[in-house]
Symmetry: C2
Subunit: 137 residues, 2 copies
């Protein structure tokens, strides 16, 4: 298989697959013309990577997951550990975004959004009028 075929199979762009080779996630052979030659196993690894990335795992997590996947003597605890840490990162990010969302939607609702210059959004970002001295503890 050439890179184009495995790109279609895995759903990853050819550029991304080349990049994954660069960083050592796949090691396709080369045919005499210099083209990369992917075997079934390579295609499978790439699909695995695509799914792991879609779940938001970092490239380094993916590297570990692939290693565990290839290790028949792995303990599922190791996999679970990685997944749980990732889950915590996701939860943290959701919490951050949700907090932004709360503030932002409050400000958006408070803004009339017309031709006049008065704007609670800018007022909040500027925080000029005495709010500056508000103790936040």
């Amino acid at each position: 298989m050439n890179i184009g075929d495995v790109a279609i199979l895995s759903g990853l762009p050819a550029k991304t697959i080349r990049y994954y080779e660069d960083i050592g996630l796949v090691k396709p052979l080369r045919s005499s013309n210099g083209y990369r030659t992917f075997c079934e196993r390579d295609a499978h690894r790439l699909a695995f990577l695509g799914r792991a990335r879609a779940l938001g795992f970092s490239i380094e997590d993916c590297r570990s997951l692939l290693a565990l996947y290839g290790d028949e003597k792995r303990a599922s605890a190791e996999v679970k550990e990685i997944a749980e840490q990732h889950l915590q990162r996701i939860d943290k990010k959701i919490a951050e975004l949700t907090e932004m969302r709360v503030t932002l939607s409050f400000l958006v609702d408070a803004c009339t959004g017309d031709h006049r210059p008065d704007c609670p959004i800018l007022a909040d970002l500027a925080m000029k009028q005495s709010d500056e001295e508000q103790p936040n503890q």
Copy 2:
């Protein structure tokens, strides 16, 4: 004010403030020794930037917001537009993360996490056993 003072006032690292000057968000004067000299207005703009960034606005959004802030003839509708678009991006990101979270926490719960190699997390990422042919439409 030197950069260290304004860093404390705005809560931004000095490195970040230099970067903001690089990209034209603040334009501090220079004193004869080459040091940046920040006025009240600069400090105020930097604090504004810190708050806007904390709400997740992109640098380009911040640039627009600062311009609107400085324009006394702005229409609040323009500000609201930027904020609403940002809110949509946040909602989209939360939705993506939540979807990841659902799948991931399902898999984590399904994994015993012990010394044995069997692992539903890896099984899902590999998706070997006939799930591959599952129509997803």
